[in-house]
């Protein structure tokens, strides 16, 4: 479970999150949506310890992320937006490194390679991987962690439809097994029928919850937060 209480964050004079309260339950895929600048990525970064809140706390399975980061980090796995790697390392070397940090064996590495289709590129340096392959490598790293809290920031942006579908199936399966899954995305139409809950963030606060089965209709109906902008893929 992820629990955010009274979380605020400012960048200079601009307030990005304002006294945000949010609870993400286990056993469900929760979508976090909102316009650019709504605070989605900032919230996720605070939730996984990449940024500190000015006020409030985020707890992951009862552990305060800001106060006890290492212990909290052992409880979640995070997929950043457009992940990049040390350009001099091969896919296999990167996976082996993270597997060691997560206490996993080479078998787990091979399993992750098979799951995300990066096995054929194991000896290719990350600098030479395409955007989609890099994203799948990041997903392989992401899935190596033996944890039950999964946080993903725009996971489908570089993936083709087939791999997006596989990702959604993977996350649904993990949620069915009891994992807490939180996904921030612009591509909410694609998640229709695949999520259990959809939270709308507007100006740093939770402004609404959408029906998970009517995401496409809701997307086109809400001009404030859903109007496509330059970095929202055209639909």
């Amino acid at each position: 479970m992820i629990v955010a209480e009274n979380v605020s964050k400012r960048f200079g004079t601009r307030s990005v999150l304002e006294h945000l309260d949010l609870q993400i339950s286990p056993g469900a895929v929760t979508l976090l949506v909102g316009a650019n600048g709504a605070g989605k990525t900032t919230f996720l970064r605070i939730a996984v310890g990449l940024a500190r809140p000015d006020e409030g706390t985020v707890r992951i399975r009862e552990v305060d992320v800001s106060r006890n980061f290492v212990e909290a980090a052992a409880r979640f796995s995070f997929l950043p937006q457009a992940p990049r790697f040390n350009p001099r390392l091969t896919s296999r070397q990167i996976l082996a490194f993270y597997a060691r940090l997560r206490g996993r064996t080479l078998d787990a590495v091979e399993e992750a390679e098979d799951l995300w289709g990066v096995g054929d590129h194991r000896d290719v340096t990350s600098a030479r991987l395409s955007g989609g392959l890099r994203q799948r490598l990041a997903l392989a790293v992401f899935s190596l962690a033996p944890v039950s809290v999964l946080v993903l920031d725009e996971p489908g942006l570089s993936l083709d439809p087939e791999w997006r579908e596989r990702l959604q199936q993977y996350l649904s399966q993990r949620a069915k097994e009891g994992a807490t899954v939180l996904v921030a995305t612009h591509l909410l139409g694609e998640w229709e029928g695949r999520v259990d809950r959809c939270v709308v963030l507007e100006r740093g606060r939770v402004s609404a919850e959408l029906s998970p089965d009517r995401l496409r209709a809701e997307f086109s109906r809400e001009p404030h937060w859903a109007s496509p902008s330059e970095d929202v893929p055209s639909r």
């Binding site: 290492v70 796995s77 950043p80 001099r88 390392l89 944890v147």
Partner: protein, 266 residues
Amino acid sequence: MSIPAASTVVAATLQREWLSQRLNRFFYWHVGLLVICGLSTLIAPPEAAARGAAWWILQVVLFAISMSSLLLGLSSSHAELDEMSLLQTHPVSNRSWTTGKALGLLLITFPTALLLVLPAALSQGPAWLLVGVAAAAGGVSGVFSLLGLALGAWIRDPVRGLISAVALWLGLLVGTDLLLLLTAGSEFVQSHPRVWVLPLMLNPLDAFRITVLFTVEHAAFTGLQAGGLTEWWLHHGGVWLTSCLAAWAILAWLIATAGTARRPDA
């Protein structure tokens, strides 16, 4: 749920550093420079050769190896920047990560410094003098690679990082000496010579220079009988250089750890 032991993180990071350096052009430049400079001791001009391989290696370390080591460390730090947002969400302490990187760099720079003296040792026969100079050169090289690591952890823009590295190198190579030259004649310095000597002792390049010239090579210098701090230094050059380099290495490691701990929004 598992938190890896610090030793696991250090070992994994060390291995990662080595694998990463295998494709680092700065590493090959560094090794190439060591080989060329080592071989050049065999073809040095007669007057330089007469002063011995140690004198030649001193110049090479001051003007080339220190710089290439600094760039090696800087490039090592910058290679990881893109991945930090993924790495920093793993249950890994910044201290263990930086220790792994630092040990990886030291294990690369220290042994490779042997390449500087290998040709001379093979042609003239092994000598303790050369072993001492190689160890000192390895120490200087290691410290500068850690300074590069620290610089890269704080200055994340590659161009600014490069400019800062050159500025730091110039500052340590000639900055201290120029400052001391300018202040040498002042009344205060004349009456407090220790204050004047201390910056020289604390600068790793000057400490290396003085140690090789006066302790290893035993160059003639009236300061040997000067008394006070200068005399102590010159008679304990090896011990002082070792302590000075160890202190700089620890300082660089601390700065690198603090820099790594900074989150992107800090």
